[in-house]
């Protein structure tokens, strides 16, 4: 695909991809130093999907997210400081330390929250679509989910409902080929998840999820369709998580992924390939790169500093926030 997309937008997308990668690398480091509890599900390798999809959205558009959702939060415009504070369990975090990595929500930024239950976000996204339809606005909803979620009942219920009522939802399947350790080829009855769109009478497309511009362009069509009131689209973005399922997955998933396969996908790094294109087709210079990298580094360091300096919530906060 020729680089016809606005140069400034391209640079913005590249910077966001770098930001996501750096954020995740920092989060993994903090997890390894026992600063982050529980688990995190790094999205390194999937940056092109987050950025390519979300670059089409306005701040007032909605997003429903997955457990592997840091990248989508960042691409939807989240404040890195509030994200990092949440990961550290601080009272300044997006959820005041009550949610953690799997539940970051930013309602003002249209982020309706990530979900720890696979497939649970799809009906919620349909509901946000109903809300848009009833209020008569031209907002849209991005509904992220993984290949594992495509086998949940909620996938069927939600796509059916959204198709039936022409809800403005873009169902974005981040197919990273594995549901925890189970390969998609051993779990999904069709070779392309997008083929399932046919069952609901809606458009379905499989996209190279390592190519940010392709993701951006294909999502754009789906967003335009949704804004025009023509209903939902199912986009399958084929991608790969360079780390394992979560921090703690032995050898970044080597126990269930062949080394050759992992190497092959690592060579298709979406940031590396986009960088090469930007140099070749967009005239990005070494100096520009350095400036951008320094900016990203500073923003991550600033987020960590903010999180470190923030207080933990006092124990009496545990019983607050249950009811309005």
């Amino acid at each position: 695909m020729a680089l016809q997309i606005d140069k400034i937008l391209c640079l913005k997308m590249y910077e966001q991809m770098l930001t996501i990668r750096s954020f995740e690398e920092k989060a993994i480091e903090l997890f390894e130093h026992n600063v982050i509890r529980g688990n995190i599900h790094p999205c390194i390798g999937q940056e092109a999907v987050s950025v390519g999809v979300c670059s089409n959205f306005r701040r007032d558009d909605y997003m429903v997210n997955t457990h592997r959702g840091h990248g989508n939060c960042i691409a939807k415009g989240a404040d890195l400081r509030l994200m990092m504070a949440e990961l550290l369990g601080k009272s300044t975090g997006y959820c005041r330390g009550k949610g953690g990595s799997m539940h970051i929500a930013d309602f003002e930024g249209g982020n309706l929250g990530a979900n720890g239950i696979v497939g649970a976000g799809l009906p919620i996204a349909a509901g946000a679509g109903i809300s848009i339809q009833n209020r008569g606005t031209d907002q849209v909803v991005a509904c992220f989910f993984g290949d594992g979620a495509a086998n949940q009942g909620t996938f069927h219920e939600s796509l059916n409902l959204a198709a039936l009522w022409k809800l403005p939802v873009i169902f974005v399947c981040e197919n990273n080929l594995y549901a925890l350790s189970t390969p998609a080829r051993e779990a999904i009855s069709v070779s392309r998840i997008s083929d399932r769109a046919m069952a609901y009478g809606i458009p379905g497309k499989s996209i190279d999820g390592m190519d940010v511009l392709e993701v951006y362009t294909k999502t754009k069509e789906a967003v335009e369709r949704a804004r025009a009131g023509e209903g939902p689209t199912l986009l399958e973005c084929v991608t790969y998580r360079f780390f394992g399922h979560f921090t703690g997955d032995p050898g970044r998933g080597i126990t269930y992924r062949p080394k050759e396969e992992m190497d092959q996908w690592l060579n298709r790094c979406p940031i590396k390939s986009f960088r090469e294109r930007l140099i070749k087709e967009n005239g990005i210079t070494g100096q520009m790169e350095k400036t951008m990298e320094a900016k990203v580094k500073a923003s991550i360091e600033g987020a960590v500093q903010f999180a470190n300096e923030s207080p933990f919530p006092p124990p009496d906060q545990a019983t607050q926030d249950l009811f309005y």
Partner: protein
């Protein structure tokens, strides 16, 4: 005051609230042209249109999940699950999503959502259409639970539920739908956490809920013939629970029986009895009594169903036990 049925009271209330709040949406199975299997939403889709009265496919998870998504983004919603037995098909959405969304987001989500459903046995609907499952939800923090027993209470409590900015599980009882009661035309709201003493008495406290209030009142009439004056408290809401009213009654009667239709094992009576012994141990002249269903699924055949679901006789027996008359 005009006498109307429980169903008419609910319908009138939904209609009024839809007129009051022009974004209020109803969503559920067969609630459109058909008007709901008990007729609660009859005529509402014709009046308010298919976007505000959304007739859904049989997709319980999608009903609850999409109601949540709509409520979170500014559409006050009443979702209907036809039988409480079917909530189990939407359990993730209710337990992990609806109930937790506000807390999990650090208090940022506002969820003006009512889940209307109905429960209970007595009509031969057998094991998957007759359960009383309120105890399952009582165990989950983040849900308010309302269980009206009269047309009057249904109206006042449903108004409060709809205007609440939190998830409310509004549980009706199928045998109450045809019952009649006085309901004023004018607006009134019944606050949550306010039990109603439906009969005064000094000898024993009967703390009951939903249709069991009706049975408890009948049992109290029969006990009165034997000179036993039972006080019947209609709890009306389980979350929040008006424990203070129970406590005051126990201070007076020193004997209490908790009456519900769900299984006795792990039922709401277990929780309330536990709280009573913690807070009023020295006032009790007998162990706290509990009346609930036998620990089996609800059977179909009438004599079997009657054996499983508690009735007046069971309440009378339990009262006599705490009075050491049995």
């Amino acid at each position: 005051m005009p006498e109307i049925t429980f169903v008419e009271s609910l319908r009138m209330t939904l209609k009024e609230e839809m007129e009051r709040d022009h974004s209020l949406m109803l969503i559920g199975e067969d609630i459109g042209r058909y008007g709901g299997i008990f007729g609660v939403t009859k005529g509402l889709q014709e009046e308010f249109g298919p976007h505000r009265v959304r007739n859904t496919p049989i997709s319980e998870s999608a009903i609850i999940g999409s109601a949540l998504g709509a409520a979170m983004t500014g559409i006050r919603t009443v979702a209907e699950i036809m039988y409480i037995d079917f909530t189990t098909a939407a359990m993730d959405q209710i337990v992990n999503q609806v109930a937790k969304m506000r807390y999990m987001s650090g208090g940022k989500a506002k969820i003006p959502l009512v889940i209307r459903t109905q429960e209970g046995g007595g009509r031969g609907n057998a094991a998957q259409h007759s359960q009383s499952l309120e105890a399952l939800f009582l165990h989950i923090p983040g849900l308010k639970i309302v269980m009206p027993s009269t047309p009057y209470d249904a109206r006042g409590l449903l108004k409060t539920a709809i205007r609440d900015d939190n998830p409310v599980l509004f549980i009706e009882h199928k045998l109450l739908y045809a019952t009649k009661g006085s309901v004023p035309d004018g607006e009134y709201l019944i606050p949550f956490g306010q039990a109603d003493i439906k009969r005064r008495g000094k000898d024993v406290t009967l703390a009951a809920i939903s249709y069991m209030v009706t049975k408890a009142l009948k049992a109290a009439d029969r006990l009165a013939e034997e000179g036993i004056e039972a006080e019947v408290i209609d709890l009306r809401t389980l979350v929040p629970l008006d424990f203070e009213t129970i406590l005051q009654s126990v201070h007076k009667t020193n004997r209490v029986v908790i009456v519900h239709e769900g299984c006795r094992k792990g039922g709401i009576g277990a929780e309330i009895a536990s709280q009573i012994q913690e807070e009023a141990f020295d006032y009790l002249d007998a162990p706290v009594g509990r009346v609930g269903a036998l620990n089996v699924p609800i059977p179909y055949s009438e004599p079997l169903e009657q054996a499983v679901i508690p009735g007046e006789e069971d309440i009378i027996k339990a009262v006599k036990k705490v009075l050491y008359m049995a």
